[in-house]
């Protein structure tokens, strides 16, 4: 296991190199000039030139990239073009919110997804199955901004049960939880739908397995047949989906963060892209890639707990 973690770590380094080069070059190829974004639309040529020189944007591409990489290797992610704030600090402020949101919505997604998936699998082709399938598909098809706006209108503006947006209280307080509910639901529905569908098909496969029949032949209670003998086996592909979704969520989800005024990594990245704040884009993409690999690693470790057959050399 340790060996696997170490190997993944090496792979991660290569991946990050690749990603950073890709991001760096695409930011340079894409139209839009960081200097204009700092100087504003009416900045004069001399103003822009001063800004460019100051940021080193007049150097050749490879020189800029080399400088960036050597800083990163030294542990310095650089400073924002826009705010001149250290990138690591900017990310450190946003990441906890994204993390909270990602965890909350994956919890919601897992609970809803597994339960609906289980129901539809156990009552295959019944009206319950059709209903939950329909719900799952509705969940996957509703655009997030739409769902978010409607939830806000309903629960925050009309009923006034929950705050409209923002995320300022610690998650363990009542306020903190209230702030999380709507965005987590908005964000979680898509993943819930995926998890539900995965659970359904995986369960349908596993309930056919011989060992489930063995369990019944032993006289095991139906409840235990499902929860002990079936579910654990069915979870293996579901875990992959959960992991993939969680990885994506951890990278921040622009629309939900925007709609609920959450100060998260997704918005940071999108704002940085819009403002051509290269170092900030780099920093957030590297964070996302790292998280992605990390989550995959965790998923793989979870596998070994769920399925003893899986071993990592």
């Amino acid at each position: 296991m340790i060996a696997m973690i170490v190997r993944r770590f090496f792979q991660l380094i290569f991946l990050l190199f690749g990603i950073s080069f890709l991001v760096f070059s695409s930011m340079h190829i894409a139209p839009g000039d960081p200097a204009t974004m700092i100087g504003g639309p009416t900045a004069s040529e001399s103003d822009l030139e001063a800004i460019r020189n100051n940021l080193g944007l007049n150097d050749p591409f490879l020189v800029q990239y080399g400088r960036y990489i050597s800083d990163v290797v030294k542990g310095d992610l650089g400073y924002s073009y826009q705010t001149r704030q250290p990138i690591s600090e900017a990310i450190a402020i946003r990441f906890p919110n994204t993390l909270k949101l990602a965890i909350a919505s994956i919890i919601i997604a897992v609970i809803i997804g597994i339960i609906t998936g289980l129901i539809s699998a156990l009552k295959q082709n019944s009206w319950l199955d059709v209903t939950s399938t329909t719900f799952a598909l509705a969940g996957i098809s509703i655009p997030n901004f739409w769902l978010g706006a409607v939830l806000i209108l309903l629960f925050s503006v009309n009923l006034q049960w929950l705050p409209v947006g923002g995320m300022s209280s610690p998650f363990y307080t009542v306020e903190g939880l209230k702030e999380l509910i709507l965005p987590a639901i908005t964000l979680g529905t898509g993943s819930a739908a995926m998890i539900a569908r995965m659970t359904r098909s995986s369960m349908l496969e596993v309930v056919k397995a011989d060992y489930v029949r063995t369990a019944r032949a032993k006289g095991v209670k139906e409840r235990n047949v499902i929860w002990i003998h079936t579910l654990k086996n069915a979870m293996i592909p579901v875990i992959t989906v959960i992991g993939l979704n969680f990885g994506v969520l951890l990278g921040g989800t622009i629309i939900t963060e925007k709609v609920f005024a959450i100060n998260g990594v997704g918005r940071l990245m999108i704002d940085a892209i819009a403002a051509r704040d290269f170092p900030m884009v780099q920093g957030s993409v590297l964070l996302v890639a790292t998280l992605f690999v990390l989550v995959n690693l965790i998923v793989d470790i979870v596998y070994t707990y769920i399925d003893p057959r899986i071993k990592f050399q």
């Binding site: 060996a3 170490v6 190997r7 090496f10 050399q313």
Partner: protein, 335 residues
């Protein structure tokens, strides 16, 4: 007597194996370095004569299939020589090998698994000609229909999918595909094990008929000794990648030299209620092929193992004419 008939042909060696080894590397560690080998086939040498059926028996996992696949070049040879019709074929490139592919064919254990479930069987058979000949579509179709008839199927089966056939029929298709290019050598890798006794009997008959007709040589892999006895001329017994005994059916079944052969023969459940055999109970399970025991690989389960068996590897010797074995106590009964 078939054996007598084949005595004359013995001179014509079709296939010769010399010291064939096949190891599968076990990799591990951070850099996926090689950590050891599964010694699936360990030093096999033998000759196969034209028109004969050579049976290979042995416990599951002892390397029978690997040997078969290695001969066909489906697995890369670790070391040794494979000589087919006088040509060493183990190092040939794919292009050069195509010629031999036509000569050497294989019938697989699971007739269903060895057919592409999404291909009509007619097309599956046509594909063989597409790959190796320049026949026109019409010629191919005619050939396929002839083939189908040859194995007892009909033209109307041409457009069916594998799942629309019964197990026996599917195995016939597998046979048709194997004989399509007029091979001289066919490996049957447990070709009848998946079939039910009554279907198995049908297929065995068919194989025999074809052998007569085309002078085929079979390498017949099986763990059913009854079938082997019925079908083969000579038998090779393998244990944990090693050849332990080779002899004619008659010799081997009547005078087994190796204790493992003896155990195997005694363990066969006889479909008769009267002559209850004394069974030899082997203790323990088959050792891990990645970590075979020293000395004789069978010593861990051998009832007559002595100290020397634990340290010294027995040599492959011809104890009687055409009857080989590798055992320090060859011929000693273990009952």
């Amino acid at each position: 007597m078939p054996i007598a008939v084949k005595e004359n042909q013995e001179q014509a060696v079709l296939l010769e194996l010399k010291g064939v080894k096949k190891y599968f590397p076990i990799t591990g560690g951070i850099l996926k370095r090689k950590q050891g080998d599964v010694k699936a086939v360990e030093d096999v040498s033998l000759k196969l004569y034209k028109g004969e059926s050579l049976g290979i028996v042995g416990e599951s996992g002892c390397g029978k299939s690997t040997l078969g696949r290695t001969i066909l070049g489906l697995e890369e040879l670790t070391s040794g020589k494979i000589i087919f019709s006088g040509t060493e074929i183990q190092h040939l490139k794919r292009k050069e090998k195509l010629k031999f592919v036509k000569e050497m064919q294989m019938i697989f254990q699971d007739p269903f698994a060895s057919l592409n479930p999404r291909q009509r069987i007619g097309h599956a058979l046509e594909e063989v000609f597409t790959m190796h000949t320049n026949m026109s579509a019409k010629e191919k179709r005619e050939m396929v229909i002839k083939l189908l008839q040859e194995v007892g199927l009909k033209e109307e089966h041409f457009d069916r999918y594998p799942h629309e056939f019964s197990g026996g029929q599917r195995q016939r298709i597998g046979i048709a595909r194997a004989i399509a290019l007029n091979p001289s050598f066919v490996i049957c890798d447990e070709a009848v094990s998946a079939l039910d006794v009554s279907v198995q009997a049908q297929v065995l008959k068919l194989l025999k008929v074809l052998q007569e007709k085309y002078q085929l040589s079979y390498l017949f892999i099986s763990h059913d000794l009854g079938v082997v006895r019925y079908f083969c001329d000579r038998v090779l017994v393998m244990y944990l990648g090693n050849t332990v005994e080779l002899g004619t059916v008659h010799d081997l079944f009547n005078k087994p030299l190796h204790p493992y052969t003896q155990a195997l023969l005694s363990a066969i459940p006889r479909p008769t209620v009267h002559s209850k055999h004394k069974r030899i109970q082997l203790q323990g399970d088959i050792p891990n092929p990645a970590d075979p025991p020293n000395g004789c690989s069978f010593h861990t389960r051998c009832p007559i193992a002595a100290d020397m068996c634990k340290t010294e590897k027995p040599v492959w010797e011809e104890y009687e004419p055409k009857h080989f074995a590798a055992c320090h106590f060859a011929g000693q009964s273990i009952l």
